[in-house]
Amino acid sequence: MAVKLRVSGVGKDYLIPVIDSVSFDVEAGEFVCLLGPNGCGKTTLLRILGGLEPATRGAVLLDDRPVVAGAPSRRVGIVFQEDRLLPWMTLEQNVALVLKPLGRPAAERLAIARRYLGLAGLGGFETYHPGRVSGGMRQRAAIARALAIEPDLLLMDEPFGALDAQNRRIMQNEVRRIWKDTGRTILFVTHSIEEAAAIGTTLVLMSARPSRIRERITNDGRVARGELVDRLNTMIMEEVERQQGGGR
């Protein structure tokens, strides 16, 4: 399979080094879950991959072309922790809006928006405003928006963090289904090991700050889910202890 995203030696310093050096490849069609202890720079790394922040070191290549901060690539869709829908627009207007820069005519934009809202399980709610639907539905709409631009890479930053356990489980299944239906390459940041083990095909575990890649695990079902979760739990506990005891 072709390499979609190549992260080589990416690091980020604020006042202290947050990300030391991170390298990994993502193949086309992979569902990668990025895991790590709180504060290890998962969100920062995702923002670098999405071109929202510059890296201090290293390079990011998407389809062999460098990702430049400040000039986000239209081939990357991002789902944030918050839905970031425009509250004054209906769900379909929200999705149709991001198709404008792609130069599609208005009628086509609306048709595409409706199709992806349907795919995200929001058929019948197209003309609702975000304030009139539940948090889970808003996050579905945000996912529909990210998919509508037909991104080469879909970045998701703890998109279900604000949802209750029930909705979280439902949304995990939904994302997994959407991934199968669309064949998109997904990079999904989470701090929940159970979540990562439930949906990712590849799990990338980051170490404590200043972070590196501690482990890359293929989640193809050959290792039982329970055993995998236990192993990851142990590793994360070690990293958390290191981060708290390490004096950083």
């Binding site: 929202l52 239209r74 991002i78 425009l86 004054w88 809006l97 820069p101 304030g131």
Partner: protein, 253 residues
Amino acid sequence: MKSLDEWADRLHLPTLVVAAVVVTAWSLLSWRYGAYVLPAPGAVVRGLVEIVASGEIWRHTGASMYRILAGFGGAVAVAVLMGLAAFVSPRARGVVADALAVLNATSVFVWIVISIIWFGLSSWAPIFTTFMITLPVVASNIVEGVANVDRRLLEMGDVYRLDGYQKFVAIVIPSTLPYLVAGMKVGFGLALKVSVVAEIFGVTSGIGYIMNYSREILATHMVFVWALVMILVMMLVDKLIFDAVSRRLAAWR
């Protein structure tokens, strides 16, 4: 029983009771001190009917409204430009904020005196005064609105490569509009109150002029009549225009 309560609320029944008490006290005081100091409620109502019948009400209210709309309209236009500047450049934001602080600290009277010196005895004096007084009110609201545009939404716009114009139309204008309307509501009330003061000097029409004239010819009841006209205009504009616009803007909530 519940619907009776509802109707009582609708008609502002408790307010009407208080109003009845006030009018009664007013009548007694008027009877005690005489019509020059405090004209009777009946005389005021008769006066209002008179100016409506003679059409005088439209001449003076129209003249005042024309000046208010010119001065206030100009202020809204300039305030929007200031908000735009504040949005585009952080440096301009600082300058605008400082300028507004100075304008806010300037008394109405300063502008009235200066406008008489500059524009003499013409409509421009109340127009200019209204403009200078309402500008900081409307502009500070817009600038605050612009500063409160959710950065996370703008970043979302960046992710999906919306250009400056698309972000402005889809994100900045809708988030700033409620601030603009709130600023205009307060600004218009202020415009009405300020322009009539400026009309005392040098013009021969308008509610301010006619109130001062009525005082000079000892027609105290007409002072009350015109005050009533001002209050009615203010309440009508508030209910018919600003409340309706606010409701429309909040339709998605």
